[in-house]
C-alpha cells in the first residue's frame, strides 16, 4: 500500500467517492439502507482489524470470531444484569457504550494475549488450527453458559447508552457513530502500516529469521499486533450487538471467522481499505444474491451459497489482489 503522498489519482478518486457515499447515505432517509450500511461498517471494522494480523503479519488467524463474540457478550451480559438489577462479580453493570468498548477491548485483548502467547509459538498450518481451536473453545463455553441463555443467546431491548449525549437508538446517529470508529481505526492503522512497528511486522512476515538476526524481538512484535487486532475486533463486537439487538454464540461460530477472512481477501489483503470494500461486497452479496437468483429461477435463492462456494475457490486460485487491486491497479 502506498503512502498518502504517493497515491495515484485512482486512489484519491476512490477514497473521495467512498467518503462522500459514506457521509451522504443516511440523508437518503431509507431506514433499510441505513441499517444495511451500518452492518457493513461493523464488519468492515472487524475485517480491517483482522487485516492487521492477516495482511500485515501474514498470520492466518482463523479465530477472530471469538474476539467479535467477546465484545458482543460484554453488551449482552451488561444488559441482562442491568435489566435484573443484579451485580457482576460484585460490580454494578453499565450500559455506557464507551465503558463497554473499554471492557470489550480489555477482554478480547486479554484473551488474545493468553492464547496468542501459545499460538505464536507455532507457524503455518498449526497456527491456523490452534487459533480455530481456541475460538471453538470459547464458542462451547458460551453455549454451556445457561445463565446467559446458552445456545439461544440474549435478545436486547435497547442499545447501549451513549453517555447521555448520544442517542444510539437513532439509526443515523448509530450509523455515524460506527463510521467514526471505522475512519478513526483506518487512519490509525494507516499510520501504523508505515511506522517502524509496521515495518518490523512486515519484515517478519517476509523473513522472520532475518528480522531476528537484525535484533528485533519479532515474537513480541507479532504478539502485540495480534492483541491489538483482537481488541479492535472486540470493539466491533460491541457495535455488532447494538446493531442487531442480539447476542449469541452464533457470533463466535467458526463460520464467522471464515467470513471475515473472505472479506479481507475479497477486498484485497494487506491494504486495510480493501477489507472495507470486501465487507461491503460480501454483505451486499449475502443480502441481494438470493433475491437475484430467485428472479432467475424461483426457489433457487435459498441455495445461493452453492454459487458462493465455487466463487471463493476461483478467487483463491486466481485473484490475488482483490477488488481494491482491480479498482486502483498497481499494488505489489
Amino acid at each position: 500500500m502506498p503512502r498518502f503522498s504517493e497515491m495515484g489519482w485512482r486512489w484519491h478518486l476512490l477514497l473521495a467517492f467512498a467518503l462522500l457515499l459514506a457521509f451522504a447515505l443516511p440523508w437518503l432517509g431509507d431506514d433499510y439502507l441505513t441499517k444495511l450500511a451500518t452492518r457493513i461498517l461493523v464488519f468492515a471494522l472487524a475485517a480491517a482489524a483482522l487485516d492487521l494480523v492477516l495482511g500485515l503479519g501474514g498470520l492466518v488467524s482463523f479465530g477472530h470470531a471469538a474476539f467479535l463474540g467477546l465484545g458482543a457478550y460484554v453488551v449482552g451480559v451488561m444488559f441482562v444484569h442491568d435489566f435484573e438489577g443484579t451485580t457482576i462479580l460484585g460490580l454494578a453493570p453499565t450500559q455506557n457504550v464507551f465503558l463497554q468498548f473499554l471492557l470489550a477491548a480489555v477482554l478480547a485483548g486479554g484473551f488474545a494475549l493468553v492464547t496468542g502467547a501459545v499460538c505464536l509459538r507455532t507457524r503455518g498450518v498449526a497456527f491456523i488450527m490452534i487459533t480455530l481451536a481456541f475460538a471453538q473453545m470459547l464458542f462451547y463455553f458460551f453455549v454451556s453458559l445457561r445463565r446467559y441463555n446458552g445456545e439461544d443467546g440474549i435478545a436486547l431491548w435497547n442499545r447501549s447508552s451513549g453517555g447521555g449525549w448520544l442517542d444510539l437508538e437513532d439509526l443515523a446517529v448509530f450509523y455515524y457513530f460506527a463510521l467514526a470508529f471505522l475512519v478513526l481505526f483506518l487512519a490509525f492503522a494507516f499510520r501504523l502500516y508505515h511506522s517502524r512497528f509496521g515495518r518490523v511486522i512486515r519484515g517478519s512476515k517476509d523473513n522472520d529469521r532475518r528480522m531476528q538476526a537484525l535484533g528485533f524481538p519479532t515474537y513480541r512484535y507479532r504478539l502485540t499486533a495480534y492483541v491489538l487486532s483482537a481488541a479492535v475486533t472486540g470493539v466491533a463486537g460491541v457495535l455488532l450487538a447494538n446493531a442487531t439487538y442480539f447476542v449469541g454464540p452464533a457470533y463466535l461460530s467458526w463460520h464467522v471467522s471464515g467470513q471475515l477472512i473472505v472479506m479481507v481477501v475479497l477486498g484485497g489483503i494487506g491494504t486495510l481499505f480493501g477489507p472495507v470494500l470486501g465487507a461491503a461486497l460480501f454483505i451486499l452479496m449475502e443480502e441481494f444474491l438470493p433475491d437475484l437468483l430467485d428472479l432467475v429461477a424461483t426457489g433457487s435463492g435459498e441455495y445461493w451459497q452453492l454459487l458462493l462456494g465455487p466463487l471463493l475457490v476461483v478467487v483463491a486460485l486466481f485473484a490475488r489482489r482483490g477488488l481494491l487491486g482491480v479498482l486502483v491497479g498497481g499494488g505489489r
Partner: protein, 305 residues
C-alpha cells in the same frame, strides 16, 4: 462413583477416540506431506454418512451400502484434489483456507439441495442394533462395533504405511518431497491416492457415526475441529501421534463430561458444580491442547524428530 460407570465411559471415550483417529489420520498425512490445510475434510465425513444412509434406504443392505459410500467419497476426494487443491500446493495457507472454506459451503448447500435441510436417519442393520450385557449392564453393540472398526483401521494403516510400497512412498514423501520426485515417482498420482484414502477414512467415520449421532448438514465441522486438536496434540504429519492424540482427546472429553460435575460437587454446591462442570468439560480438550503446546510445541510424537 461406581466402577461400572467408569468402564462404560472409558468405552465411550475409546469410541469417540477411534472416530477422531479415522478423521485425523487422513488429515495429518495431507498436512505432513503436502503442507496443505483442508477444511473440507469434514465434508467427506458428512458425505460418507449421507451416501450410506441413502444407499441403505435404497438397497437395504448395510455393508454393501457402506462399501459403495466409501468408494464414492474416495472418488469425490480424488476429484477435489485434481480439480482444485492440486493448484494450491505451495501457495500461501491463506488461499488454501479460502478455497476449502468455499468447498465446505458448496458441499453443505449441495447436500441441502439433494436431501433437504432436515437431519435424516441412518438405520443400522439388525445385527448392529440392540445391546449386549457387558460388565453386568447392557451396552450398545454399535458402539463396540465402532471401536472394533476403528482399531482394525488403525492396524491396517500401520501395515499400509509401514509395510507396503505405497507406504514407503508416503513416508519418503513426508520426509523429502523433492527427492522422491527426483527419483522418478509420479508425485501427483501419489498425492491423489493419499487424498482418496483420507476421504475414504473420513467417510468411514461418518457412516459409523450416522446411527448414533444425527446425519445432518454440518455434522463434519464439529468433528473436524476436534480432529485439528488431535493433530496438534499428536504432532503434525504423524499418524502414530494422531492415534495417541485421538484416544487422549476422546477419553479426556468423555471423562470430563461424565465425571467433572460429580467431582466438583465434592467441594461445591450441586447447582454450581453442574454449571461449572459443564463449562469446564466443554473446554477440557482445548486446555489439554494448550498445555501440550506449552511444553511440546511440536506435539507429543512429532513426525520428524
Amino acid at each position: 462413583m461406581d466402577l461400572l460407570l467408569l468402564l462404560q465411559q472409558t468405552l465411550n471415550g475409546l469410541q469417540l477416540g477411534v472416530m477422531l483417529f479415522l478423521m485425523a489420520a487422513g488429515l495429518t498425512l495431507i498436512f505432513g506431506i503436502m503442507d496443505l490445510i483442508n477444511l473440507a475434510h469434514g465434508s467427506f465425513y458428512m458425505l460418507g454418512a449421507y451416501v450410506t444412509a441413502w444407499l441403505v434406504g435404497l438397497v437395504d443392505a448395510f455393508l454393501p451400502a457402506l462399501a459403495l459410500a466409501l468408494l464414492a467419497t474416495a472418488a469425490v476426494g480424488y476429484l477435489v484434489e485434481v480439480t482444485t487443491l492440486r493448484r494450491l500446493y505451495g501457495r500461501d495457507h491463506l488461499y488454501q483456507v479460502l478455497a476449502t472454506f468455499g468447498l465446505i459451503l458448496f458441499f453443505n448447500e449441495g447436500i441441502k439441495l439433494l436431501f433437504g435441510p432436515q437431519p435424516i436417519f441412518l438405520q443400522p442393520p439388525d445385527w448392529l442394533s440392540g445391546q449386549i450385557p457387558l460388565f453386568g449392564a447392557p451396552y450398545p453393540i454399535i458402539r463396540l462395533a465402532i471401536i472394533a472398526v476403528g482399531l482394525a483401521s488403525a492396524l491396517l494403516l500401520w501395515w499400509l504405511i509401514g509395510r507396503t510400497r505405497l507406504g514407503m512412498l508416503i513416508r519418503a514423501g513426508a520426509d523429502d518431497r523433492e527427492m522422491v520426485q527426483a527419483l522418478g515417482v509420479d508425485i501427483a498420482r501419489l498425492f491423489g491416492a493419499i487424498f482418496a484414502l483420507g476421504a475414504a477414512l473420513a467417510a468411514l467415520a461418518g457412516a459409523m457415526a450416522g446411527p448414533i449421532l444425527a446425519v445432518r448438514i454440518g455434522m463434519g465441522e464439529d468433528i473436524l475441529i476436534l480432529a485439528f486438536v488431535v493433530i496438534v496434540i499428536g504432532g503434525i504429519g504423524s499418524v502414530r501421534g494422531a492415534f495417541v492424540g485421538a484416544l487422549l482427546v476422546g477419553l479426556v472429553d468423555t471423562y470430563g463430561r461424565a465425571l467433572l460435575p460429580d467431582l466438583l460437587a465434592v467441594f461445591l454446591e450441586r447447582t454450581v458444580a453442574d454449571a461449572a462442570g459443564a463449562s469446564i468439560a466443554s473446554m477440557a480438550i482445548y486446555i489439554l491442547m494448550a498445555l501440550v503446546l506449552a511444553f511440546r510445541p511440536r506435539g507429543l510424537l512429532p513426525a520428524r524428530a
